[in-house]
Amino acid sequence: MNRFSYSRPGNVDTAVGELTRHEGAKFIAGGTNLLDLMKENVERPNHLIDINHLALKTIEDTEDGGLRLGALATNADTAYNDKVESRYPLLSQAILAGASAQLRNMATNGGNLFQRTRCYYFYDTGTPCNKREPGSGCGAFNGFNRIHAILGTSDENPETRCIATHPSDMAVALAALEAIIRVTGPNGERTVPIADFHRLPGNEPWLDTTIQPGELVTAIDLPAKGFPDYYAYIKLRDRQSYAFALVSVAVGLEIENNQITDARIALGGVAHKPWRKPEAEAMLVGKTVTEADFQSVAETILSGAKGYGHNTFKIELAKRAIVRALQRAAKTETES
């Protein structure tokens, strides 16, 4: 690990000021991903700003009937919060599908959003990676890419090529719930819809999010609609627990008199950000649960998907996971 200095600001303004002043500084909250990457020399901050003492840990109702999750509330405290469990069980389930109990006790909601990819080539400083070292190439494209993306990749220009996935489970549920991220920075406060928070690699694969230098996530706002009656989170992985998703699916449905009135479907493990396809969701609205064609919805979401060899199986796996998640959410799942 490289050497760095350390500070522990007591309020948000001081924290943001320190980040702006120290070029090469980073915020540290739970530290579970940052310290891991520092031990691998992938991240090399020269100064760490410990934000654990900022007053951003509460989970409280918002005026519009939603819920505000403090950026520094831990993943465990969020998943086990009574209001999250009863009103947003999809989020609770997704968080609990990720990491281990120890890590969830450390990891924060804000930090979870900023997780870096688990691409092995990103972690291995002995190999090229356009995300870690812009312009150096992509080790995964012609390498072992079983865990890599099948949608929204950047694969034409070797110098910007990137087929990494975003590793978060929480963010997949937040995408389905259409959460709003609250951010503060040198230019004041702003809000970012979760759909615009993470980005596709495009020509700048080294950028994971649209957050600007000096900005701090302070909270995640959940809109009132939480899909507590019809939801499912399915995570498929190489072992039963404590592994990153090969494919995950978050589904939230609203069903009245057997008719689907709203539908959200978000995928994890398949792209550089949680993946949604609004036209596929629209195919479900107005249909009864029995007449809805879940297979066509899955085909639509995966249209344009592309495998790179080892990960081609994910295309069919994702389709089946979507169908199963829709059945589970609609409560029409049969044993198989």
Binding site: M1, S5, R8, I28, D50, A101
Partner: protein, 174 residues
């Protein structure tokens, strides 16, 4: 509260941050240590306090051998900096036994032969204490799921689950 451990300038190779005195509360005792900011809590415990019960397995938060309790919650001590835990109450495997002898989980691990090489055991036991504090495990499957952050390469899992199940009084058939 604000602690600055270096001048207000960026750290460069020629101006490395000084070690500073850090106060840590471990197993009820207050310790003052001269530590650099980059010393992990795990290294502080093992290398500075010689509390070697807490093990370094992977040093990347993947194996759980370094599990300790911070304010009663289980965490991976390899993925936190000692300096970040000033003011917290840290409990290691050395702090679990009380005046009346071993912690019930320690006794149960012995009775159930819940280890072979023993390297993961302190982490397993601290993790199980955290699991009990959380109060979320109601079935055997819950124990397996919520203990998945602790790897046992000898494969003693069935006996580990038996030991925890007995102390938590969970019906094996539940």
């Amino acid at each position: 509260m604000r602690t600055t451990l270096s001048p207000e300038t960026d750290a460069s190779p020629t101006t490395l941050p000084e070690k500073t005195t850090i106060q840590l509360t471990i197993n009820g005792s207050v310790h003052h240590l001269e530590l650099a900011p980059w010393t992990s809590l795990l290294d502080a415990l093992r290398e500075y306090l010689h509390l070697t019960g807490t093990k370094k397995g992977c040093d990347h938060g993947q194996c759980g051998a370094c599990t300790v309790l911070v304010d009663g919650k289980r965490i991976n001590s390899c993925l936190t900096l000692a300096i970040m835990k000033e003011g917290a109450e840290i409990t290691t495997i050395e702090g679990l036994a009380g005046e009346n002898g071993l912690h019930p989980l320690q006794t149960a691990f012995i009775e159930h032969d819940a280890y072979q090489c023993g390297y993961c055991t302190p982490g397993q036991i601290c993790s199980a204490v955290g699991l009990m504090n959380e109060g979320r495990a109601k079935t055997t499957d819950d124990i397996r799921e919520l203990m998945s952050g602790n790897i046992c390469r000898c494969g003693a899992y069935p006996h580990i689950v038996d030991a925890i199940q007995e102390v938590m009084k969970i019906d094996p058939k539940a």
